[in-house]
């Protein structure tokens, strides 16, 4: 792995055990054990994916529902472990898989900023420094001490986005989140992502909006049913994908 590579995905396969419903209780477990139904159907969400993403690159993933895009993002984020193959990641990751994942609804916005910052591995001292900037970006000045359970979904998303992007990560994972908030905030998000990209952050982006993908990405990978169909320049692949 050269120092130019941000993410290296090597022959990765991911297999899930699909049981029609999960065995949640002991009783069920024994019933199934007796009936010999503990053997699940295997489902390969990803098969033999190899990708290399360079530093500073904006890399998109396209594909239909169930193509394995989100699974791939989760593998890169380190949330899932691949069944086969290896994934190497060079640098810190800010996952934007779902905004506000670590929020506690009972706590106020202020407390949640520190909690969510800690989830991303930042100390409260670091968060002290960025606190005002986060609140300003998310435009929540009047709601700092309101429990987030009273927030609207847009406010929730704004705060989550502000926290995740305020400290420049080496790698940013973006999954369908640009669709939140009003158009003004969307523009702001896009602006922030542009800023990060020009600052050398590697971005891994999933969007069903082909225009967004075309506009932002340098290269795109097309996934279908867990297999890698093609990798190439954004425009070319997106046109092929649309013409499918």
């Amino acid at each position: 792995m050269t120092s130019e590579t941000a993410i290296k995905i090597d022959n990765v396969s991911m297999c899930f055990n699909l049981s029609r419903d999960r065995v949640d209780s002991l009783k069920e477990y024994f019933i199934r054990l007796v009936k010999r139904q503990l053997f699940y159907d295997e489902f390969w969400a990803l098969r033999d994916i190899s990708l290399e993403i360079k530093k500073g690159e904006v890399f998109g993933l396209v594909g239909l529902n169930g193509a394995g895009k989100s699974t791939l993002l989760k593998l890169v984020a380190g949330v899932l472990k691949p069944t086969k193959g290896t994934i190497m990641v060079n640098g810190t990751i800010a996952p934007l898989i779902e905004l506000g994942a670590g929020f506690d609804p009972e706590l106020t916005a202020r407390e949640n900023v520190y909690l969510n910052g800690a989830v991303l591995g930042y100390s409260s001292k670091t968060m002290d420094k960025y606190f005002d900037e986060i609140i300003a970006f998310s435009e929540l000045q009047d709601f700092v001490d309101v429990p987030v359970k009273n927030f609207s979904s847009g406010m929730y998303a704004r705060l989550g986005f502000a926290i995740a992007t305020i400290i420049k990560p080496d790698i940013l994972i973006v999954d369908e989140i640009l669709a939140v908030g009003d158009y003004k905030f969307q523009e702001k998000c896009k602006h922030r992502i542009n800023e990060l990209m020009s600052g050398g952050t590697t971005v891994l982006l999933v969007s069903h909006n082909i225009d967004t993908t075309k506009r932002f990405c340098h290269r795109v990978a097309w996934l279908d049913k867990g297999r890698l169909i093609e990798v190439g320049p954004a425009k070319e692949i997106c046109e092929k994908y649309e013409g499918m």
Binding site: F16, D24, L115
Partner: protein
């Protein structure tokens, strides 16, 4: 091959320790009449020391493998702090008396139990409220820490699914939250001791030791439970029943002397009994726990912790598929 090496090392060091004790019989504990009991003690003591010694050596040799885990925990120390803080805040946020409940709670439970047991069932115990509260303190620490840890992975599910975190941070945070509650219960104990004019002794300063034993033991049990409950939700209900049984098997509100001699060993198999005894010795009786007591407590808490870490480590990658 490597495993064999460790087993040999443990055996050799253990044997040396055993021989040393034969050479100097009164080194660690006073000799009793029963020879079988004496050799059993020697054997257990020798191998405890040996396993600890070899564990330390293994840790030094494998330091490179262990280090990333520790540095990850260090990186997320602020998360640990935030989680504990959140638990503490969230618990009493909505109540009128707030934090005062942490002291009131053990006091009121003790009051009820004291009334019940000093008028309905009479035991020959000097200063019953203090006896009761001190036992209850350790037991509720254990039961709270383990019960909270058990649900910690499930309730952190949404986070675990999205962010790559060291997952054992959740059970640890719950055990630490319980430790804070224990601190307030301790204040309640001191208040009761002042009210009942119980004698204070400097050995109370040693109280953190039995608390540490209980903490490590609870953490081990909590790690196992938190992993188990992800795969079997029934564990929650089973464990509740188990805790109810355990209350009666622990001499919290009765003296150990009411148990017939031939059943005593059953109680002595209960780890909590040892922690409670150890705690009472230092906190209310003004004594110092014997070396043997310490060895037993140490052995049980370390065994529990190691088992917990092992089970958790082996199962943690599969959590996400079942949450």
């Amino acid at each position: 091959m490597r495993k064999l090496k460790y087993i040999l090392l443990i055996a050799t060091v253990g044997l040396l320790m055993y021989l040393l004790q034969l050479k100097i019989p009164n080194l660690f504990f006073s000799i009793e009449e029963n020879e079988v009991w004496n050799s059993a003690r020697r054997l257990i003591l020798a191998f405890t020391v040996s396993i600890l010694f070899c564990g330390a050596i293994a840790a030094v040799i494998n330091w490179k493998k262990i280090r990333p885990y520790l540095s990850k925990l260090y990186k997320f120390r602020s998360l640990l702090y935030q989680l504990v803080k959140r638990d503490f805040k969230a618990k009493y946020k909505r109540s009128f008396l707030g934090i005062i409940w942490t002291i009131l709670n053990p006091l009121l439970t003790m009051l009820v139990l004291t009334i019940v047991f000093s008028s309905l069932f009479r035991f020959d115990i000097e200063n019953f409220p203090v006896y009761l509260l001190s036992g209850q303190l350790i037991f509720s620490f254990f039961s709270e820490a383990t019960t909270l840890s058990m649900g910690s992975i499930l309730s952190a599910g949404s986070l675990i699914k999205k962010v790559n975190l060291p997952k054992y941070i959740f059970p640890i945070s719950k055990v630490l939250s319980s430790l804070i509650n224990l601190f307030f219960s301790f204040l309640a104990l001191i208040i009761v001791m002042v009210i009942t004019r119980a004698p204070f002794s400097w050995t109370m300063l040693l109280a953190p030791l039995p608390i540490l034993y209980t903490l490590l033991f609870s953490l081990g049990v909590g790690l196992i439970l938190s992993a188990a409950v992800v795969f079997f939700r029934d564990m929650m209900y089973l464990y509740n029943i188990f805790l109810t049984i355990l209350v009666y098997l622990t001499p919290i509100f009765y003296p150990i002397s009411i148990i017939p001699d031939r059943f005593r060993f059953l109680v002595s198999l209960n780890p909590i009994y040892h922690f409670v005894e150890c705690f009472r010795t230092v906190a209310i009786y003004g004594g110092i726990p014997t070396l043997w007591q310490n060895v037993v407590c140490c052995l049980m808490s370390l065994a529990s912790l190691l088992a917990g870490l092992y089970v958790f480590y082996k199962k943690q990658d599969r959590f996400i598929l079942y949450i």
